[in-house]
Amino acid sequence: MNARGHLSSETIDLLLLSALTAPETNDAKQHLDGCEDCRTRWRELNEDKQRFEQFVFARTLPKVEARVAAERGGFFSRFKLKFLVPAMVLAAAAAGVVFTTGPGTQTEDDAYVGIKGQPTFELFAKRGQSGVFPVGPEVALHPGDRIGFMVNPAGSKYLLVASQDGAGVFSVYHPFGAQVSQPLADVKAKLELPGSVELDATLGSERVVAVFSEEPLKAGEIEAALKASTQNPKLPGARFVVREFHKVAP
């Protein structure tokens, strides 16, 4: 309680974060019981928490992450992308379409695609101080290279990017280490995912998969689908786009 007989914003915020000591928590709660004004502020804060968690967080997180990545002078700064995109399109055209899921998933996906348009997923790499280059099946990557991702969700609501490396080890690349897919902004344009992943020393063929969905999916389910078939993973409600590259010693 402050000298003016009420709880400060700090006390109320800390109470919400469960960051007060036990005696402080008791004092604060006792004050709330007896003070209409502070009770109103406490109620408002809890209502705001609900709004934030239900709506604002999901709507704004992708923008926040993109901003943070950009401000860190991220992997692909905006100006680099301008050069990158045409280069990528040319490279993809030259290479033929990189590598997508086999025909087996098409029946399920077609309904999805019919409504939503086709989500896309592209891989880029950066080696040392040299520039960013698109990754296709003809490009060999090295341990220590960094890879980044660009997607067009085509209106899909959730995304998870995972990998199965040459040793069959499954990892979640975006959101890094996450257990479930993350909400996407409602965009129908290409967007660069914030951050990048440094490739480890495991050599061989690595598959990176973007999983688009309408509902959040668990990383465990995606891992199981990949274990069942890396070429043609299946999971109800999911649209897989698979990319493959080879990692060789430099």
Binding site: R4, L17, F52, E53, V64, V68, F176
Partner: protein
């Protein structure tokens, strides 16, 4: 596989989830507009992130949030009032719960915000933290990185200026 950028992104979303409510609630209260508050929440979070990542505890993180969100929202309010037509000069509360007395009873927050919007820029932050947030003078000083003496002086000046707008016996 090792991490850096992507791992950071995971930490960013955890911090955003944790502290987003405090930022959002504060911006809603100061800006009184849901859409503006939503935009402000992202802007403030991006600005405050570096500080809360290195904050030793939640209270320190909140102090940064108060400082940066107050500053950001006050700027927004100033921009808005610059764009808007100048309002009638005395469209102000007529002693409706404006309890600005020298003991510093916490005044009604809406009244406080109206008065603060009219105060000179250098008095605004102090007044928000003291009257709207109910922080102690000492906490206001620490949050803004100024001396307690400066806080007291600015609050006094704020109260004196506000008297012009509030007609109440005890003021």
């Amino acid at each position: 596989m090792s991490e850096s950028g992507v791992h950071t992104s995971e930490r960013v979303s955890t911090l955003y989830r944790k502290f987003g409510t405090a930022i959002y609630s504060r911006c809603r209260r100061l800006l009184k507009d849901d859409a503006l508050a939503e935009d402000a929440t992202q802007e403030v979070f991006v600005r405050v992130l570096r500080h809360i990542q290195s904050a030793p505890d939640d209270a320190t993180a909140l102090a940064w949030i108060y400082r940066i969100s107050t500053n950001y929202c006050l700027n927004q309010i100033r921009d808005r009032s610059r764009q808007a037509e100048p309002t009638a000069p005395d469209e102000m509360p007529e002693g409706d719960g404006g309890e600005v007395n020298s003991e510093g009873e916490m005044m009604d927050r809406n009244t406080a915000m109206k008065l603060i919007a009219r105060a000179p820029e250098k008095l605004q932050e102090v007044a928000v933290l003291y009257y709207v947030d109910g922080l102690e003078q000492e906490q206001v000083a620490k949050t803004l990185g100024i001396s307690r003496r400066t806080v007291i002086n600015r609050l006094q000046e704020f109260v004196e200026r506000s008297r012009k707008f509030i007609s109440r016996d005890e003021v």
